[in-house]
């Protein structure tokens, strides 16, 4: 399909999709959501894109390749295990940081969040890789 309306809509809806995915990721620790759901949502925007553009066009637009997302995701997940060692307890133990940010209030940042970001990136990368490889004409 090569519809101008779809393409224009995709341009703006993309931001919405990604924003939605990020929110799902961040609030996942307390409310429904999380890395898996966020990652899948983020990948959905590409599905929407692929309705509007051909896959070659999308691949050209994409600055980061899916493989890199996967690598970064796995790296994040692994890195999140390390602080546990240095905080005096065992590997993979969650370490939390309490930050008092104005406006938002007291926010807790911890290694599980980093791990969830890793899951997010991996799932997104994997789904994108699936989509690209299956949709590319050979």
């Amino acid at each position: 399909m090569n519809s101008i309306i779809l393409q224009l809509a995709a341009k703006y809806l993309k931001i919405l999709f990604l924003l939605f995915a990020l929110i799902a990721l961040i609030r996942g620790h307390n409310y429904p959501g999380g890395g898996f759901i966020g990652g899948l949502l983020a990948a959905l925007y590409i599905v929407y894109d692929s309705l509007a553009f051909t896959s070659q066009q999308i691949e050209k637009k994409l600055r980061i390749h899916p493989e890199q997302y996967i690598g970064a995701g796995l790296l994040c997940a692994l890195l999140s295990f390390i602080p546990g060692i240095y905080s005096g307890s065992s590997l993979m133990k969650g370490v939390w940081l309490s930050l008092d940010i104005p406006v938002i209030g007291v926010t807790k940042l911890g290694t599980p969040l980093l791990f969830d970001i890793g899951v997010f990136l991996t799932v997104m990368g994997v789904t994108l890789l699936f989509l690209f490889t299956l949709s590319t004409k050979r």
Partner: protein
């Protein structure tokens, strides 16, 4: 000492980092390393000679009671010195010998690792650890024999040696565990302390048999000797190092190590000396009729190993002393001869003794070296071999068991040795140079360096045997567990042993003259041998193996027929039967739930899902099938949603959407469903499927009423907010409590993605 072993490993891998330009320095580097090690062990010699031992104790897997223990005592000192010194010479030798081959880095890598493993073996003071090094040497021997891996014979020989030594290794392992279960430890010192306990235990005999199988396979005792002959396919440095001086001696080493633990019983004496004597005789007898110079040496090696085993089996002070001296004798002359054989092959381009002759003209130095080494082998004065042989005769005279028989066998075997020594010397170096013999190549002169040194040692130690007492004495005390001073001398006086030696040499020389004059004798002899020894062990081995493989492949084809549907049917049917059985046994048939249709909208939903499943199954149109599948998925997600699984529902919805997209992407490039099955198979499949479905329904019903151990879930729920600061317990489980599982899962996803990517992107290479 631990550092030495680690250094070996580092050095072996470092070989790959040395640039190709400097590749000829690789063997020199390792040779130098061996020389340093030799020096290191030498500095400890006075301590060890004084009866001390150096122990290193490192915890390894304390939970299993496994430790890394090294011990440098009299016995391991002897072997360590031999390994490092001969290793040094071998690498010097290999520098010249291997220069015309490619892939030498790999060769040196294996050889260095082997040397390290061998050193680890002799230094081990823990038997599990010893076994690991033992197996390592087997594997590396396999790799080294198959160095010329384009040659089918070399591959076969390598496989054969691995098979035989691997089998022995397994037996040894079982024996170690057996003995370990008696004393509840694998440590050498524990075993030594509880030696009497081991000997009294009823597990002693099976353990002894298994240990001896391990030792006999490694040290190429009859009837396992044949692998050593095949091993001659290896490059000559390997033959000289592994298959004469070190690896095959590992069995002898272990025999000596276990001597104070298992030895001293009648079983030990009889079995060990019997096999030793048999090997000794067969080896030397068969050596005479060989034509290939390397095979001649291999057979004499087998014979010599037999001598060593026999001496350790005879179980007297004299015999062990003789064994230790003979160890040196053999190491010196046999390595020298192997290296000479390599040199001769390089010079003449052949290994057949018939085609070589008159080498004395082109290589007088080689002749001198060969003469010294061969005289040592024949046991002529003033070589070290003479002392060794005198001691052996003496030991046999003193043997409390079958002294006369042993003497006769020993003398016969030695007569053959004398004959072989002279035959080798005359056939190769004297006589007419054959036509077509390659012109001498002076670039290989350097190959004579290493055998020369060994030959000098044979002579030097023969003239000054006192030097050897320092080495032999401590080893002897370790093996016999007592404290005696020994003396070695060249001249024993005119006693019966001397006359026996004289007789041996005379008969040997006469036999040689006879054979040399009448060349056809050998031919006749060969024919007779072929008649008598018609069992070719190598052939028996390989045909037996072929039959075994044919047998198992026939069986495999019966079960592995290649139709996936029948595999699945088998799996499903058996799963069903097992499930019925298990459910009946443990749970009974009563259903505890009551049937309701409340709430109605869920009942309706379930009905819709059921219908869509049926539609998906029965539809003949692809798109319908997929749409029905999607409806099923969405319906299930609604069920999740209703029954308090919010995250599940969201995930399922998105996944279902993505799945449909993926299917459509692939589907447009695929053909329509073809009608492939007939009515009967459909009925059969439907029957199986419905039966399975029924059982699974029942299982689900039973599962609902099973109480999981609640503590796990309760722990998660209770601690989610407190310890992990998360309100969404499902998410907290995923990213915090069970994060390692999740890591595994995203790794699986990654692998799946990479699989898809490579499947579709890698172009098939045309043949």
């Amino acid at each position: 000492m631990l550092i030495i072993l680690i250094l070996y490993l580092v050095l072996a891998f470092a070989l790959f980092l040395i640039p190709a330009k400097l590749s000829k320095f690789k063997p020199l580097l390792i040779a130098f390393f061996h020389l340093c090690l030799f020096g290191f062990f030498m500095t400890h010699l006075p301590d060890v000679a004084a009866g001390k031992s150096i122990d290193i104790h490192q915890q390894w897997i304390p939970q299993l009671g496994l430790n890394f223990e090294l011990r440098l005592d009299g016995l391991s000192m002897v072997f360590a010195l031999l390994i490092t010194f001969i290793g040094f010479l071998i690498f010097i030798y290999a520098l010249t010998y291997m220069k015309s081959y490619t892939g030498t880095t790999k060769f040196y890598f294996y050889l260095t690792l082997f040397s390290g493993a061998m050193l680890g073996l002799v230094l081990s003071a823990d038997f599990i650890q010893l076994f690991m090094f033992w197996e390592l040497t087997s594997v590396l021997s396999f790799l080294l024999i198959s160095y010329f891996n384009e040659n089918e014979q070399a591959r076969k020989a390598a496989f054969q040696s691995l098979f035989v030594t691997g089998f022995g290794g397994l037996c040894l392992f079982a024996a170690i565990i057996l003995i370990g279960s008696i004393v509840d430890s694998y440590s050498l010192s524990e075993w030594l302390e509880n030696a009497h306990l081991i000997k009294e235990d009823r597990r002693y005999l099976p353990a002894l048999v298994l240990v001896l199988i391990g030792i006999f396979t490694k040290s190429a005792q009859f009837p396992f000797h044949f692998w050593l002959l095949g091993a001659m396919q290896a490059p000559t440095p390997v033959s000289a190092f592994l298959h004469s001086a070190t690896m095959v001696k590992a069995g002898v080493f272990l025999l000596a190590r276990l001597y104070p633990i298992l030895g001293g019983t009648p079983e030990w004496t009889q079995v060990v000396s019997l096999f030793g004597a048999l090997t000794m005789l067969t080896g030397s007898y068969l050596a005479i009729t060989q034509i290939d110079i390397k095979l001649i040496l291999a057979y004499t090696t087998i014979s010599a190993l037999g001598v060593l085993v026999l001496l350790l089996g005879m179980d007297t002070q004299q015999s062990v002393k003789a064994a230790m001296v003979f160890l040196f004798v053999h190491a010196f002359y046999k390595s020298a001869l192997f290296m000479l054989a390599g040199y001769i092959t390089k010079e003449t381009g052949t290994r057949s003794i018939d085609k070589i002759g008159g080498l004395i003209k082109t290589s007088p130095i080689g002749f001198v070296i060969a003469m010294i080494a061969l005289f040592s082998m024949a046991g002529l004065p003033p070589m070290l071999g003479f002392i060794g042989k005198e001691l052996i005769y003496e030991a046999k005279f003193d043997s409390p068991w079958m002294s006369t028989a042993l003497l006769i066998i020993g003398v016969t075997s030695n007569i053959f040795m004398v004959t072989i020594a002279f035959l080798f010397l005359f056939e190769v170096f004297l006589g007419q140079a054959n036509e077509g013999q390659k012109k001498s190549d002076s670039s290989y002169k350097f190959l004579l360096f290493s055998p020369g040194i060994l030959a000098l040692l044979s002579l030097g130690f023969g003239l000054f045997p006192d030097w050897l007492t320092q080495l032999v004495g401590p080893a002897l005390n370790i093996i016999r567990m007592d404290d005696v001073q020994i003396k070695l001398k060249l001249w024993h006086g005119l006693n019966q042993v001397f006359f026996l030696s004289l007789f041996t040499v005379m008969v040997g020389v006469l036999l040689f003259i006879h054979i040399y004059k009448h060349k056809q004798v050998i031919r006749v002899w060969q024919r007779v041998n072929n008649r008598i020894f018609s069992i070719n062990f190598t052939k028996v081995f390989s045909s037996g193996l072929d039959k075994f493989i044919a047998f198992s492949s026939k069986n495999t084809q019966l079960i592995q027929h290649g139709y996936s549907r029948f595999y699945i049917i088998t799996i499903i049917v058996f799963t069903s039967i097992l499930l019925i059985f298990q459910l009946y046994i443990t749970r009974g048939w009563e259903i505890e739930s009551t049937f309701t249709l409340q709430p109605f909208y869920i009942s309706g939903l379930v009905l819709i899902i059921m219908l869509s499943v049926l539609m998906s199954v029965l539809s003949t149109h692809r798109l319908f099938t997929i749409i029905a599948m999607a409806v099923t998925g969405y319906g299930i997600s609604l069920i999740y949603l209703y029954y308090s699984a919010v995250d599940l529902a969201i995930t399922q919805i998105i996944i279902e959407t993505l799945m449909v997209v993926m299917f459509v992407l692939v589907l447009r490039r695929l053909p329509k469903f073809a009608k492939l099955s007939n009515r009967r198979t459909k009925m059969r499949d439907a029957f199986i499927a419905l039966g399975f479905g029924l059982i699974m329904t029942f299982l689900a019903l039973k599962a609902i009423n099973v109480d999981f151990n609640p503590s796990i879930s309760d722990y998660f729920v209770d601690n989610s907010a407190l310890k992990a600061y998360g309100k969404n317990v499902v998410n907290v489980i995923l990213v915090d409590f069970r994060a390692l599982d999740t890591l595994g899962e995203i790794t699986v996803l990654t692998i799946a993605a990479l699989g898809v990517y490579t499947l579709l992107n890698v172009k098939k290479t045309k043949k």
